[in-house]
């Protein structure tokens, strides 16, 4: 087990380094300079380049960059808000994004589980078809379509919830973005729960449990759902990551001052450092989640570990 975890951590670190390299190379290829201000003359520009270390050889720049990144120093923003450390920019925005993302995952997971359970328990009835239709729509319609529809109907026409995010009414203005972000998670979890539950319900140990006299809720929750949950953990991880990217557009629609909208602004204003840092943070989160899930999965289900060893 230790060997497996060690190997996974090593792979993750290597991936992280590779990502840094890719990001760095891409950034070197970017058109335009962060100092596009026409008022600057050549000397001033050169001074700025020296100040930010942009005049040194690329290899030096890269290693300096990796070192700084690992220390948590993400550099400063060039354009969006001059000379503000990026870590500070992100610090205020990350909690907002994480809160809405967390709400979306929680909501999606709970509703998805319930939908999936209903579909599996009432297999081949109208409830099953209904849950399937909902989940197909949720999987295939992008989150920002939901966001627009919700904000038009419930925000604009009915006025139940604010259309735009506001710090005064955090709870109320988080409702619509959370719902629209949760649709995909909900639908995927519902589909997965349904098929896993159908398989578990048809298995021999369920028959055994039933013949021992266990019935009703205990049978479903303690025996069936627990076994069905194991594979569901694996789909949750990529879903969380999808959520991060989905949040880019949804944050723009609801004007949420989160990380996603910061990335969009940075892309549009050519702020190299912010784009690189945010991409790095997204990637690091992605790799972290994947790592945790892989290890968790290895602990829960020893067969995975053994299979990987034989690989």
């Amino acid at each position: 087990m230790k060997k497996y975890i060690g190997k996974r951590i090593l792979t993750s670190l290597f991936t992280l380094l590779a990502i840094l390299l890719v990001l760095f190379i891409l950034m070197q290829l970017m058109p335009g300079s962060p100092f596009n201000d026409e008022k600057l003359n050549a000397d001033q520009r050169a001074a700025l380049y020296t100040k930010y270390g942009l005049d040194q050889p690329i290899v030096v720049q890269f290693f300096k960059y990796v070192g700084n990144m690992l220390k948590g120093d993400l550099g400063v923003s060039y354009n969006i808000s001059k000379n503000t450390p990026i870590s500070q920019l992100i610090q205020t925005r990350l909690p907002i994004s994480i809160r809405i993302g967390g709400c979306a995952v929680g909501l999606g997971a709970v509703v998805g589980l319930v939908l999936g359970l209903i579909a599996a328990l009432k297999h081949d009835t109208i409830w099953d078809s209904l849950a399937t239709v909902i989940s197909v729509i949720g999987v295939s319609v992008p989150s920002y379509v939901f966001a627009l529809a919700l904000s038009y109907n419930f925000g604009f026409k009915l006025g139940w919830f604010p259309m735009l995010f506001s710090q005064q009414d955090v709870l109320g203005s988080s409702v619509l973005p959370s719902i629209s972000l949760s649709m995909f998670t909900m639908a995927s979890i519902a589909r997965f729960t349904r098929s896993e539950m159908l398989e578990v319900l048809g298995s021999d140990y369920m028959l055994l449990a039933e013949s021992k006299g266990i019935s009703g809720a205990a049978l479903i929750f303690r025996h069936a759902l627990r076994n069905a949950l194991i594979p569901i953990i694996t789909v949750l991880a990529p879903l969380i990551v999808d959520l991060m990217t989905g949040s880019l557009v949804v944050e723009k629609i609801f004007a949420i001052p989160g990380v996603g909208s910061l990335l969009v602004t940075a892309i549009q204003s050519n702020d190299y450092n912010v784009v690189i840092s945010l991409s790095f943070i997204y990637s690091a989160m992605y790799i972290g989640i994947m790592l945790v899930v892989d290890i968790l999965y290895g602990i829960i289900d020893p067969r995975i570990r053994l299979a990987k060893k034989g690989d």
């Binding site: 197909v136 295939s140 379509v145 990217t245 880019l248 784009v275 992605y286």
Partner: protein, 346 residues
């Protein structure tokens, strides 16, 4: 047992089942071609058929739609901007009559630009946008662009991912090790990050969008191809082929590939909606097709700016895109079940 006397059945207890004709067609054991089976199973599933029909209808409109009226996708008529949808043939039913409700802080009022400006013969079927361009034409030419991008990206993905997976799985050992580590790293990078960065570096346009999508979507395909290859490469027909002197690449592409075409097609179908979504996302962020050309994504992002005042501008592209993504998913689902009915639903 209380009543021990065994009951002896008499002839009237039995009745012949009338199934004349039923035994003539042996549905269970008759040899049928694989693709015919697939065909029958596919068309038994209603949702899959609906998906296919929707895709066909949208594709037909994407081809002929822009030519159905006199407008072009880039033709602006600034005096006729923000006209609500109007179809003269439907006017008597009270819909599509070219009027829209304007909401202001003091209340709402119904206005009709067509009658106000005396343009009684003019129609914009889906309305006109805020440069006076016809939304009908733009929606369908946008659908055309989105479809071309998505399908091209999916097909190129298929070729790259499939070859990568097949080669990695077939050779195994060290080759597989290295190729899989590369893949793990590629998979560790969030796709939208890479697509976004690439489009910042490259000049925006249809080809670069296809290129960026192509670089990111091949991972899933290569996984499937590799898994299938690992399943098949120990089988006798591969051994037979090798014994007969076939080379590695002949075995990979001529012997194994035809046997895994099913899951590959399914995967292609699943990657098309992803590509449509990614393209739309890029347009929304401002990295999409350059103006005046349009895609569904850029239409949505244009419509978004005025979607509370003129909701009709955003509805056509959003509906078309949602329907497209939905129907590609339905078709892929149907195909997966038709190709491998025993496979667990994912």
């Amino acid at each position: 047992m209380e009543n021990a006397a065994a009951y002896v059945p008499v002839e009237t207890d039995f009745k012949l089942k009338h199934n004349a004709g039923a035994d003539l067609i042996d549905e269970n054991y008759a040899a049928q071609s694989f693709w015919k089976d697939v065909f029958i199973r596919y068309f038994r599933k209603i949702s899959a058929v609906i998906g296919l029909v929707l895709i066909l209808v949208i594709s037909v409109f994407a081809v002929i739609g822009p030519g159905m009226n006199e407008y072009t996708y880039s033709g602006q008529e600034l005096s006729q901007k923000n006209f609500a949808p109007r179809i003269i043939a439907l006017e008597k039913f009270g819909i599509f009559d070219g009027s829209e409700t304007m909401r202001t802080t003091t209340g709402s009022k119904e206005i009709n630009y067509y009658t106000e400006k005396g343009l009684t013969d003019l129609e914009y079927w889906f309305g006109s946008d805020n440069f006076g361009r016809d939304i009908w034409t733009r929606t369908w030419s946008g659908a055309r662009v989105s479809l071309i991008i998505a399908i091209a990206a999916a097909i190129i993905d298929m070729v790259i991912g499939m070859s990568y997976g097949l080669i990695s799985g077939y050779f195994g050992g060290r080759v597989d090790m290295i190729m899989q580590r590369i893949l793990e790293i590629a998979n560790g990078i969030p796709r939208l990050v890479i697509v976004t960065l690439l489009l910042l570096v490259l000049q925006p346009g249809m080809l670069t969008i296809i290129f960026a999508l192509m670089l990111t979507e091949w991972v899933g395909m290569s996984r499937i191809a590799r898994a299938e290859m690992l399943k098949l490469k120990e089988q006798e027909f591969v051994l037979a082929s090798r014994t007969l002197g076939a080379g590695n690449f002949f075995i990979i592409f001529k012997e194994v590939l035809p046997n895994i075409i099913g899951p590959i097609i399914t995967q292609v179908m699943f990657s098309i909606p992803t590509a449509i979504f990614t393209e739309a996302f890029l347009s929304f962020v401002g990295l999409g097709i350059p103006v005046p050309r349009c895609s569904l994504g850029s239409l949505i992002s244009e419509g978004f700016n005025s979607f509370t005042t003129h909701p009709y501008q955003i509805i056509p592209p959003i509906v078309v895109m949602a329907l497209l993504m939905l129907s590609f998913n339905l078709v892929a689902d149907g195909l997966r079940e038709a190709l491998d009915p025993k496979m667990k639903e994912m």
